[in-house]
Every structure is written in structure tokens, then in C-alpha cells.
Amino acid sequence: MDLQYSGRVLELGAQLTLYPIPDKGGLDSPRSLAIDSKSTERAAVAWLPKESDTVVALSNVSSQVINVRLSSEADSPQVVIGPHETILRNHRFEGASKEVIAFDANYDGPVDAIRAFGYVKSWKSGSFPLRFSDPAASTSSLLNAVGLRTTAPTHIALQNLSDQPVEYHLHLAEIGSEKPKTLDSAPSHLRPHTEEVVSITSPLRQMMAMGVERATLTLKTDADARSFVAAATQELQNALLEDVPFRPSNPRLIMRGAYPLRWTEDYTNFPMVANVSNAPMTVRAYAIVGGVTYTFSLRTVAPDTTTVFDVDQLRAKQTPDINGKVIPLDAKFGKFHWAPMVRTPTTLGLSGRNEEYSLINNRASSFSCQIACEYENESYPYFDNGFEGLYKAPFQTAARTSGAYQGIWDSYGNYATYPISDPYMFGTPHFDTTTVLNAFLQGNNTTVQSDTGNYGTTNFHYNWVSYNGQPSEDGSFCEYPLAASEDLGGPGQVPACPIPDDESTSYVRQALVDPVGAPTASDFLQTLVTVGNDDGNKIIESNNAYGSDSCSYDQTFPPIISVSMTTWTIGQVTPNYPEAQVVIPGHNQWGPDVVGYGPGAVRYFQLNRPKLGLSMPCGFSLHQNLEIQCVQDGTRTSYKPNNSLTSTIDGTGLTNCRSGKCSRFTYP
């Protein structure tokens, strides 16, 4: 099967699940990619259960004939494979006492021409894959099998490919604990060009007795990176075997991962990331499920510990992430990504794995594949409150605050945000300052505070440093710092006077001395909710939307569908106006705003609407927009855009309302 797609490298992953024996456990086909090969050698080693068969498939994906030498085939070591041909080699070990099987293939031709895959099949024990790897592609002799179950009988198959004896020892460390319980085996030796199987069932049981459910196994050797091959197989239950791959924790191939998530039937997911280095490593992880990016907080993984991202529990309990998002319960599939936040040239350290487990499907799958260096990321600052627009007042401390976040995009468009708290994530952030506004990062770079200075306008500029990419195969970094500066938009405007956040309104009295509104209109007085002194500035009303008047039916008394476009002075009495002499605005107050029909209209509608069969009550409804005008600079700013003004006439009087505050009069 040949699967091709367009898009970024490793954007798509695919895996076959095979069931070689009906009603027994399934096994997964490991991936086969050209980028995984550096030489024409392939090696695999595996535990061999009693009465088992092996099947090896050798595929020639090139367009030339390839001669393959397969070391374990005594009768026919030389295999000729035509272009785009696959050959199968079956071996049966019935009754044999052999406990381990090793394959070593080499060929002439392009390094990525031969793709080898196989599996071990036992009618009694089940089936598991034979993982062929290119020893030359390994850059570390430190091999890890992440998150082994301590309850399962476990077999470790080892192969020494070199001409020298190899010393090795096994190290088990509890997962999910910052102070893990550990267990070390005594050093052992493996002769040159030999293979053996080691049971670690007993040490795992010891760990289980200490209350440990899972442990990460580290295989430490004195061999060079290309000389040692290992495989771990765990016997779970019902002839279900789980193949847990050993991975070298070299940066290029391992130090980030992308695994599938699945919640169909009884599938469970268990993503883990282990740190086998001597230094703490910070990991960022996120799950993308049903269109939601669920972002875990940055997690520092101590040396010799394994951290667990329990997506199943977080989904079941609907636990919010650092941005308040939850994993949708109705989503059946997703993906889990992790990557290190490493900004020093570390050459090894992190290994990851996700286990998908389903009893119904007789399947326990490991996902631990690497992602190539091309898997870049880019990061930018993100602020949850914009800098543009109007600031409320001059000379104010913390006139506006904004949460500061690090937005990270991977090359596939996945996006996650984090509080800017990781010193690796930012260089030296710096805001340009002006006499109008001064913005600066605060609180361990988690917020931006903007202080206003004198009035005027300004644009915002922000200098910052971020990083792209990942460490490369040879230990150098393919990431690179970006010294960037970004315009954050604008302009930000500081008016010459405080802009109210709102106002409160109060009904004061019946407008008894207004020459045209008395006695059916109402006086309302407003108090501004503002940070400073606005006395002397202006309040200007306008229409936010068309008003309506259900009383007026002809042109004799025209409908009231507009405010009167009036300007009031804050804190001052309107000269020569009788109503203002008795409804006096105080500090930061304005008014009176006189609301209502005039008496002639009230009487006209009360008397004449019934004659026409028109219903009562009726009334007008206006949508008042209120602006403040700073006298000093002439700026006009809307602070209450849709204030409600109504008046309702019935047979015995009328009710006038402003902002929900109402007064009722009997009239006539």
C-alpha cells in the first residue's frame, strides 16, 4: 500500500491495524518514511513466544531491482526484489526452544528503497509487530520505552550489532510523579553479533509492589548509537500483546510528537512525555479536538521523570484549560501535540508516547513517532485588549490593562496561546513610549499597563524577540531568533477631559415651569460615572436609531421620532431656563433632560384616537446617543450610545421614562 498526500512533511499520519489471528489481539504497522533512513541496513529484534510464526515483508519502493541480504534466512539469504515489488518471508518456529528472533537486512541501492515490516504471530500469545529500524539513523545509545505497565509480563529483546561486547543496564522510573520511585538492574553484557531476550516481569512486579502502575524503562549501554537494537513486548490480557517501541531521545527524531486521540467505543488515550536527561525540560502540549485547541500549561519535566497528559479525565470532567476551553464531549477523534520549549542546544532529553487501548477491539497501540525538523513553529505576542481607540482620561495610571500572551502557530496552522511567563519565549519586550501614552509589561510579563499622559493621539509600536523552529539533527538549532518589532495599531487617543463610563439618571420633578412642556413632561437629572472632573464640558445628544411614535396618526401633531439634538453644559445651569433654575446640575451632573409629550398633544391623542377606533395607550420611543465634548480640544466621544427615552399616553395621563426611570402624571 502506497499512500501519498500533498501538504507539509508529516502533516498526515497513517497506520494499519492488522489482526493476523481471528479473535486475537491486533497489531499496528509502524510507519515507513524515506526520511527515517540514512543507510541501506535494516535491523529488527523481537521476543519469540512459543509456537510462533514470523512474517517479514520487504518492499522495494524504488524503480530498480534491489538485491537484499537477509541474515536470518540460512536457506536463501539473497532476495531479489523487482521495482515496486513486495516479497513475503514466513518462518515457523513450532516446537523450537528459540526465545528471540533477529533480522538484519542490507542491500545495494538508494537508502530509502527498501521498506521492511514484519510481525510475530502466536496462536497462544497473540501477535505483535517486528519493527525494522535503520541503526545508522539512531543518534543516541540511550533507549527509552515510555510508560510500561507494571502489571504485565514484559519481554525485552536485545541485539548487539557490533563487533564488541556491550554492557547495558536497565533503569525503571515511576511515571506521573515529581519524585519517582526507581529501580536499577545490575549491569549485564551482550556478546558481539548476538541477541537475547530478558524478562523484566520481576522488576516491574517490584515496582507494582511499591504502588507504581507504570514506569519508563531506560536502557543505558556503553555501545555507540548504531550498535544496539531493542524491543519491548508486554502481555496484557486475552492474548493481547502491546509492542512498546524503544526510542532514542535524540532531538531531531524524538523531541516532539503528534499522536492521534480516539474516543470511540471503549478506547482510552494516555499521552506521556519522559525526560531522560540530566536537566529539567519544559514541554508545551496541546490537544486539538473538534475545532478546539486545548492548551496545557507549560510543564517543566524534571530529570528522570515522566509527565502524563490525562486527556481522557480532562475530557470526562470537562476541566478547562489555561484559556478556559474544554475538550468537547461529542468529538470522537483528535490529535495530541507536544514539543519542548528548549532554547539551549540540548542533544537529548525527551521521549513521548500515547497508548490507545480498547478491549472491545483487542488492541493496544503505541504512538511515539517523531516529527521532522521541518516542523517549525512561530510565536508572536498577543494582547487581549487592543491598544487603539479612546482612553478615558489624561494623566491616569493604568488607564487600560491588557493580558499579554504568547501565540504559537505550528506549520500546520495549529494555534495555542500561553501567558507570557516563560523567559525563553520572549526576549526583551519593549513598548515605544510617548507623551500621550506609556505602555509597559508588568507582572512577569503577563499584563500590559497603559498610562495616559497629556491629550493627543499616538500609534503603538512593540519590540520583541521570539524563536522559530526546532533543534536539528546534528545538534545545532534550526530554530532562529527573530528580533521583531510590530505595529500594534492605533491610533490611541487621549482626550483632554475624562470620558464617562456611564451615567445614572434620576427623575427630579414634573416640568411645571417649562413654557412648552409643562405640565406633562418630566425633568431628569444625570450624574456622570467618570474618573475626574468634567464640569464645563458639553453633553451632546443625537439619534442612535430612528425613533417611533405610535400616537401620531396625522400631521396635526407630528410624530416625535427624533431627539432634539440638544447640548448641555456639565455642572452648569442653563441660562434663562425656568426648569433649570429648580433642577440644578451639581458637580459632574447635567440636565434637566425634559422627556414627554407637550400637553396639547396629550389631550389631542386622548380625545381623538378613540374617535378613529385607534387604540390606547400609545407613545413614543427614542434612542438617544450621548457624547461628551471636551472644551479644551473639541473632541466628541460617545459614552452612552443607546439611551432609552419613552413617553406613553393613556386615557388618564401619561408615563415618561428615561433609562428605565419613570414618572407618571394624571392629565388633564
Binding site: 416640568a511 417649562d514 413654557p515 412648552v516 412642556g517 413632561a521 445628544e541 443625537s542 439619534n543 442612535n544 436609531a545 430612528y546 425613533g547 401620531s552 396618526y553 396625522d554 400631521q555 396635526t556 401633531f557 407630528p558 410624530p559 416625535i560 421620532i561 427624533s562 431627539v563 432634539s564 439634538m565 440638544t566 447640548t567 448641555w568 442653563t574 441660562p575 434663562n576 431656563y577 425656568p578 426648569e579 433649570a580 433632560d593 425634559v594 414627554g596 407637550g598 396639547g600 398633544a601 389631542y604 380625545l607 381623538n608 378613540p610 374617535k611 378613529l612 377606533g613 385607534l614 446617543n625 457624547e627 466628541r636 460617545s638 450610545p641
Partner: protein, 255 residues
């Protein structure tokens, strides 16, 4: 019996159709490239045409009703109200009129307003009606279409006297209404006015007597630059109603 019932039912329908307030209609169509046809159905069709031009073109044309003759008006109070209020005065409106008025399409040039209003008035005055209209010009942008019966308009020669003191717009509105109403054939009451806006303007002393129409226009202009005044004949209550209203509603827009 069936033959006798048919005309009775028809008659009932006719009566019912006239005894209710009718919805005004206005259809505007282009006539060639430079003309408009205003098809109006209304109790006050000329006023409706002016309202359309004010709204559509931002004109500032005020309006004064004539004092309608009894022969020109009808009672449209609904039968149920009549039945419940025997002997009481119903609700009177000018008789419903449907007409087509042809005008030059406004181009926004100076002189448009007076010229087109002249076209409107001329056509209306050629109808076989007793109410006639004339155009009164206050300034380049402000005019009024004034109704009359046999050459007599409702404000007639009403004037307001000089005023020595400053006063606000509300007070001016009250005084004008009282003084002018006292010289008119029926009392004059205040209709729909911008109560707050009137309270916030100062009217300077008036050194000479002023025709009432000019005084109302001056007050209207001072109160707001998109306002017009109108004087309507409240036939039912036998009074005139003076209002100051916007030529069209202006919505706030962010700068």
C-alpha cells in the same frame, strides 16, 4: 328579498370606507431624465409632497395650512364611536384627494427649491379647489408654502411686537403662540416641538414688530439647522397647531 339586500350591503361598504382614517400614499416616478411625478393620496396632498422633498433632498420648507371651509372637510369618526357618543363632535379632516404633481427633478443647484415649489403650487392652484397656496421665501434655503382661502392665509397680517429682553427659545415659542394666536381666527396651540433644544437657545431682543411667519421661521432656524415649522388646522378642535420638527431624522455617525 335577495334583490333588495344587495344595494344595502353595497351602501354599508361605502359608508364604512369613508368612516375611517386612510393611509396616505406617495409614489414617485421619473419622467424622462429631468422630471418627477409625485402621485399622492392624502388629506393634505401638497403638504405630503413637501414632506417628501424635505426628507429626500434635505430642503427646509415650512408649511401653513389654510383654514379649511366646511365644504372641504368630512367627519371620519368610526361608527362605533358615534354610536357611543351621540351628539358629540366627530373627527374632521380635509376631504381625501388623489392627484399627480409633475415637477423638475431637483439637481441641488441654487434656486431649485423656489422654482420647484412654484411648479407644485401652480399645479395645485389650478385644481378646482378653494384652498390655494403661495410660496414665501425667508432666505436662500428657507421657504414656506402657505395656504389661503380666497387670498386669506391663517397668519394673515399677524405680527409680534418688539421685545427688549433676551429670552430663551421656550419662552419665545410660548409668546409667539399666544401673540400670533390672538390675531388669528382660531386659537393657536403648541404642537410637537423640541422641548430641550428650545430651552437652550437665547433669542436676542427684537427691535421691531415682525410678521408671525417670519418670527416662527427665525425661532425655528435658531433652534436647529434642520428644523422647519408647520401650522396645521385642527378642524376637529377648531384651533391651529404650530409645531417645530426636523425635515428628516439624522442619525449619529462615528467621526
Amino acid at each position: 328579498m335577495k334583490i333588495k339586500l344587495v344595494p344595502l350591503v353595497l351602501l354599508a361598504n361605502v359608508v364604512f370606507m369613508h368612516c375611517q382614517l386612510r393611509q396616505r400614499t406617495m409614489h414617485v416616478t421619473s419622467e424622462e431624465a429631468t422630471g418627477l411625478i409625485l402621485s399622492v393620496g392624502s388629506y393634505t396632498p401638497l403638504k405630503d409632497a413637501i414632506d417628501y422633498l424635505n426628507h429626500e433632498y434635505g430642503w427646509l420648507v415650512s408649511y401653513e395650512d389654510p383654514l379649511y371651509l366646511d365644504s372641504q372637510v368630512e367627519d371620519i369618526a368610526v361608527p362605533s364611536w358615534r354610536k357611543a357618543h351621540p351628539g358629540e363632535r366627530g373627527f374632521y379632516v380635509p376631504k381625501w384627494t388623489e392627484l399627480k404633481l409633475r415637477i423638475t427633478k431637483p439637481t441641488g443647484q441654487a434656486g431649485d427649491q423656489v422654482k420647484i415649489l412654484g411648479e407644485l403650487v401652480q399645479q395645485y392652484n389650478q385644481l378646482n379647489r378653494e384652498d390655494k397656496f403661495s410660496v414665501r421665501t425667508f432666505s436662500k434655503t428657507r421657504t414656506a408654502v402657505v395656504g389661503n382661502i380666497r387670498g386669506v392665509d391663517v397668519m394673515g397680517h399677524a405680527t409680534v411686537l418688539p421685545q427688549k429682553l433676551e429670552r430663551n427659545g421656550s419662552e419665545e415659542m410660548r409668546r409667539l403662540t399666544e401673540e400670533c394666536g390672538a390675531q388669528m381666527r382660531m386659537r393657536l396651540v403648541i404642537g410637537t416641538v423640541p422641548i430641550n433644544a428650545l430651552a437652550h437657545i437665547i433669542i436676542p431682543p427684537r427691535k421691531t414688530a415682525f410678521p408671525c411667519s417670519d418670527a416662527f421661521d427665525a425661532l425655528t432656524e435658531k433652534t436647529g439647522d434642520n428644523l422647519i415649522y408647520q401650522v396645521m388646522d385642527d378642524i376637529t378642535d377648531q384651533m391651529f397647531v404650530v409645531s417645530i420638527i426636523p425635515n428628516r431624522v439624522v442619525l449619529h455617525s462615528e467621526p
